[in-house]
Symmetry: C2
Subunit: 643 residues, 2 copies
Amino acid sequence: MTITGPRKDATIHATHPRDAAAPVVPPGSRRVGVGIDEVHLDPSGFWGHRQHTNRRATLEHCRSWMEQLGWLENFDRVARGDRTTGRPGWQFSDSEVYKLLEAMAWELGRLPDDDLQQTYDTLVERVRAAQDADGYLNTAFGHPGLPARYSDMAMGHELYNIGHLLQAAVARLRTHGTDALVETAKRAADHVWAEFGEYGRPSICGHPEIEVGLMEFGRALKDDRYIRQAALFLERRGHGILPVRPLLSAEYFQDDQPIRSATVLRGHAVRALYLSAAAVDAAVDDGDLDFVDTLERQWAHTVERRTYLTGGMGSRHQDEGFGDDFELPADRAYCETCAGVGSVMFAWRLYLATGDVRYADLIERTLFNVIATSPSEDGRAFFYANPLQQRVRASAPDEGVNARAEGGSRAPWFDVSCCPTNVARTFASLAAYSAADDDGDAVLLQYMAGRVAVAGYTMDVETQYPVDGRIRITVVEAPTSGRLRLRIPSWSAAASLAVSGRSPQQVGPGWAHVEDLVTGDVVDLDLDVAPRLTWPDPRIDAVRASVAVERGPLVLCVESTDLPPGVDLQDIAIDTTSAPRIHGDGAEIDVRVRMTRNTPPGRVPYGAPSATTARKRIPVSLIPYHRWAERWPTTMRVFLPVE
Amino acid sequence: MTITGPRKDATIHATHPRDAAAPVVPPGSRRVGVGIDEVHLDPSGFWGHRQHTNRRATLEHCRSWMEQLGWLENFDRVARGDRTTGRPGWQFSDSEVYKLLEAMAWELGRLPDDDLQQTYDTLVERVRAAQDADGYLNTAFGHPGLPARYSDMAMGHELYNIGHLLQAAVARLRTHGTDALVETAKRAADHVWAEFGEYGRPSICGHPEIEVGLMEFGRALKDDRYIRQAALFLERRGHGILPVRPLLSAEYFQDDQPIRSATVLRGHAVRALYLSAAAVDAAVDDGDLDFVDTLERQWAHTVERRTYLTGGMGSRHQDEGFGDDFELPADRAYCETCAGVGSVMFAWRLYLATGDVRYADLIERTLFNVIATSPSEDGRAFFYANPLQQRVRASAPDEGVNARAEGGSRAPWFDVSCCPTNVARTFASLAAYSAADDDGDAVLLQYMAGRVAVAGYTMDVETQYPVDGRIRITVVEAPTSGRLRLRIPSWSAAASLAVSGRSPQQVGPGWAHVEDLVTGDVVDLDLDVAPRLTWPDPRIDAVRASVAVERGPLVLCVESTDLPPGVDLQDIAIDTTSAPRIHGDGAEIDVRVRMTRNTPPGRVPYGAPSATTARKRIPVSLIPYHRWAERWPTTMRVFLPVE
């Protein structure tokens, strides 16, 4: 009845009748993700709740901040030929509007709503009105009082902005069809083709995004020109054509070597991830298995040596970039929320291309521990960076525009505010990553409570996951053929699978297949989410002799708030002779309070071995990392020293 | 005969007849450092050799780079009213010229030379010719084709530049007397007083330096106006008057709180250290012991929690700044060379103010492990940042202008090239930090081979220090009264002191006094420089469960070059059951080669405890950290994991 299958299947192509209502639909792919209209998340589930908050609070939160700051007005100024100087916002602020439009488009596709529709239409009209006759669309360049078009390819972000417009248009095309936004996007893409196409200027944009936008827009419209344009941008990159400056190196822009020659992701993390996502699209559309293989190896190197326990990517604040292999400091982890989004984009495309379970595993890790961490419970404040250690109790959350929230509290908005709208569009399209049709098999990738229709199956998924490991899948409708395939997460030491009350079978990490299901069958998957200790690779110097506690897919952390009075977070050490125990939605573990060495006054903090005197053992509780700093500013640690 | 005295003596004031030829001479101070003309370093000694290389190679190296890049020509352009745009260099490039002039002035004072004098005179003339009639002097602002004077107080560096001009003039005043440079500096300082004085604009410069320059210039000229101006700048700071931008916060500029209210150094490290040095000057001149005490406490907090084993300061690349307490990563340690210079400036002033041996201890640590590390053996390439770990073998040294040498090899010049000229002026005036007259006692602070005349003593210091701990001091001339005071370094576990063959006496860290010396006496100090293991404070997460090896004042390191073939630096762990042994000018220690865990492909590098299999014990050699990357690009570690 159940079997554990191979890790991956190299075949790429198969035939599917229609485009799913999803962000990525490679034509003729053997694997197709579900459309967002094929999944209905339970609003009381972990993800359904967040999706609901996103719709109810975050969309309007983003819109009103952009209105207040003049980022929307920028479109009106261009439309009316305003020549006054002092345009508010960075050169990429247009993209925030497009990401918001993308989020709204997915939400309208998921669940129509007149008010939301009207807000969307009004926004689209303001954007459309700013478009030039030749399709050029930008509020920071190319108009009176602004720098000339394409006068700063390295940092101007003009094509980056259009990439986001195209992704928004894809959301609309796949959930609705052509509308004013799609028409606007089409004119913008045609302008890009005229300007940068085979006979245009052989340049690229400093921030990749246009590539992934053009690829999917071309797929959605079945217009090969856009795909060729994306391929041109991809091929031009890596030959050092962007001007560099101190601290903005060719590597920062991924312009240091051709994508096919690289062995690992490097430079600015979001740039690297968006670019890699587009590269998978191009490789798949070309049926270029060698290129897919190259990208898989780049991904693997990056995950094995440049990725945090949370799935976060980007170790450096200075250039928002990847560090060297095993340079993974907990306190200065950058782990930009947008890099989490980019990582999901890259991994999802590799999953569709290869069927490898590892991609879905990393997506789960990233969703629960990076993407879910960014927004506050109310959906109106966000983390930009997601460090794994907070040394200093943050000041109270700032109600204004933050530089970049580095201080241990979520902020309502940022000077560079890429993260809130990126979270918004990801939550709105989240269901698309939950399941896939793999050549007729129904594959459940992420366990989200709700109803899902895929590959002829309709299934109700009931679960309190990730707090509880029990997942009940009731087959409401079954196809005449086609298996159900379940992802058994890599962290799962013991999992059992039972069908309709028959005796459970143990299943190991990877894929578990269930055959011959009929309507009414109940599949019970029981994953062991008992808290466990996780050790870092010894090459990660920054967390040597420390362990983390995980529970199912959740990384846990200790906040100072949960320590007894008088105990400092920097003075506790885990007693690994005791196992962590379940406690609320987190865990409890025994620690010893260390007596830290007192350096003689005015001496550097290095000398004779520390004479640590362990005090009595006390239990401390850990909460899911994604909930940290929700109560009030604290100090926090994911990795705890071992006694 | 020998005694160990108190750590410090709170009295500040005493009377001295004349200004020493030294960078810092607080009027009426109880302690006065020696003049550079009172010390003759042996060119074969550790420091004498470097001073010789500095004079012979570095001065001309800096001059020719600045000529080649047009930073000198900038003065000519202003002088001839050139209106063309495209001025080369940053807005602070003038200061590099002034730091070079300061280095030349000290060198001319130390040992006159016609060629050097002519080079100096020519440079001074080019600078002088660019000065406006009202004393304003700057090549990046205030002239045709350039931004207006003082139009960017936060980042314009106009006053910063002048601060360096004043320090150069102090060097000239104290070694020679008035000349064209001094006159130019006087006009510039008068202009600053007219512009920013009691009735001028109440502003400050984003980069402190004018304060420390004005203080000493005022002392050297006995002109109280300059000292009042410095005090005004110091008092204005900390009230948020500089405009801030994302990533350039008030803290970055030390404009977040008044100097008197701060408890620790924070923000941009060089800025913080230069400012603090000036604050000590002001406190001492005012006889304000409370303020001195505040600054001592800021220094102590900074040293105890924000300082590297090398004495390096500044943990962050992003803002070249101090991090949080105990945020001291080895691999991303910034430890800018200029911050090392700033730290010596701050600590030296606190030593003069208090007589506390701790300041001289930190100066020694910083000189041997930061300042001596920056220049290459030939004095023609430099480190800007001084990390304690190099993970990736650097590419070959770049012969051109480097962004900031972050890549593990010294560079001949930088886009921001503050460090080479800062090293040059420090080496040229180095002898001034070696000894002091403390109310009639002769104090030897740093053991530099050569002859020193201080407090009536003339002494020959013979030593191979720091490689050898034996220091022989021959009294060539002795005063009728006054003791000899010797610094016994804090790292010295066992030291013995013997006078003229009498039986040696054990002395502990701190001060050792020798009384009743007469001409011909020989004092033998024997410090134990056997290699020793040094453990970090357990609150420094980044180097947990790791140790460093030190030898006397030298921090040692392992370079990959010195490992057997096939052994990777990231795979070795120290066997602390064996003691480190002397080996060349470094040490040798036994290590085990760990078998690092192989993360399953495509998995994050965290999981079950690593199954490490220790292989056979092998010895590896360590070299002084200041010599790393001298042979060819390597990987390097100061802290080694403990097995």
